[in-house]
């Protein structure tokens, strides 16, 4: 069950710094478009800046960048939001965990913060550590009431299954808004949007990307994704909702690889929570960016016809 005390701590700002995720911008633009437009509909003005680079989490945990190299990059990104006095809203589990972990680490480690600030002063920036980082799913759960009021296209009769992703709930063991084993805030958002929740056994399993395992140990990663997708296929939902573009890209693309390797016929469309909320709030279809999806496209069109374009 969601930790309501944690949810209450999330403010309802009138402006928020939207952190663009690399996978979302270049592989699934629908996530980026829907996240900022849905926040605007829910009454929060999204602010973004093209100074903001990648959060650096991928290159760090892939051991290309040592923590001393990526901590200044994180501080730099966070200082962009602090200059405008805003909190940061991310769409990706990896960004959330990475920005939070290193931000928390710097706030509790004065000498590290001093050396990071030395580097940032060279660029005329300074990391104070005042802003905090929220996930878009947390914001949707916090704005439940506004979400309920603004639903224009209720997802009547659409069977939706959830996949929470590991980094947000695993990395945020004490800071996420729900416990790691039986989260239910995505289910509540689906019910608010009118969809019908479909449970399946491997709900809390990892999507199989293994962060860099899909590049280095592809066979192990495919093996795990296969068990996940088999379990999803049993429940046969219309849509599988994820909250991280990296899970999105893995589950989406690997279904196609399984299909033409006749490993089974996987046609489950994968949607990010921002796209699902965008669909519920009635954003026009081009903004949802379904053209960038790889598998389950026919079923996606069928869902759109059922709930009205």
């Amino acid at each position: 069950m969601p930790r309501l005390d944690k949810v209450a701590q999330i403010p309802k700002p009138d402006k928020i710094f939207v952190f663009k995720s690399c996978v979302a911008s270049n592989k699934y633009p629908g996530i980026e478009a829907c996240s900022s437009d849905s926040l605007r509909i829910l009454g929060i003005e999204p602010v973004d800046s093209d100074e903001q680079t990648c959060c650096g989490g991928f290159v760090t945990f892939a051991n290309v960048a040592a923590p001393t190299a990526s901590m200044p990059a994180v501080a730099r990104n966070l200082s962009l939001a602090e200059e405008k006095g805003l909190d940061t809203c991310v769409v990706c589990n990896g960004c959330w965990t990475f920005l939070n972990e290193f931000g928390h680490f710097m706030n509790h480690n004065a000498e590290v913060k001093a050396s990071v600030n030395m580097m940032l002063n060279m660029m005329g920036k300074e990391y104070k550590g005042t802003g905090s980082v929220y996930h878009i799913a947390e914001m949707y759960y916090r704005l439940k009431e506004e979400l309920a009021e603004n639903v224009k296209r209720p997802l009547k009769g659409i069977k939706v299954a959830t996949h929470y992703g590991c980094h947000y709930l695993g990395g945020g063991k004490y800071t996420a808004i729900d416990d790691a084993q039986m989260p239910s805030y995505l289910e509540e958002i689906i019910e608010i949007l009118g969809g019908e929740v479909v449970p399946y056994t491997a709900n809390r399993e990892c999507c199989g990307t293994g962060f860099t395992q899909v590049i280095n140990g592809k066979d192990l990663s495919l093996e795990h994704t296969k068990t996940k997708l088999d379990s999803v296929k049993e429940a046969d939902p219309d849509i599988l909702v994820v909250q991280c573009p990296y899970c999105h890209s893995q589950l989406d693309r690997i279904q196609q690889q399984f299909n033409y390797r006749d490993e089974g016929d996987f046609q489950t469309p994968i949607l990010h929570i921002a796209q699902l909320v965008g669909m519920g709030l009635g954003l026009d279809v081009a903004k949802l960016g379904f053209a960038a999806h790889v598998s389950g496209r026919a079923r996606l069109e069928n869902v759109l016809d059922r709930i009205g374009r």
């Binding site: 923590p67 001393t68 000498e111 050396s115 030395m118 002063n121 060279m122 005329g124």
Partner: protein, 77 residues
């Protein structure tokens, strides 16, 4: 990856491997700023300064903060 790590390391014991790893982490996470490290940072700063006009101004604004560190690094006090 060693198929058999005992053969890969030969005579070396875990203590030596541990020593080496600790020394690596020490200078990876070290906070002080010896002269050698500052020299290694110079090309990066120069490239940043050359890249555009406003980056040059920021670096000049940073210079007063830099001078005590250079003095401390050079004199090693």
């Amino acid at each position: 990856m060693a198929d058999n790590y005992l053969e890969a390391y030969g005579k070396e014991t875990s203590q030596d491997a541990g020593e080496r790893t600790l020394k690596y982490f020490e200078d990876l996470f070290s906070m002080e700023m010896p002269l050698s490290r500052m020299m290694k940072m110079m090309p990066g700063m120069v490239k940043f300064m050359m890249s555009s006009k406003d980056t040059r101004e920021d670096l000049f604004k940073f210079m007063p903060q830099m001078t005590p560190m250079i003095k401390q690094a050079v004199t090693g006090k």
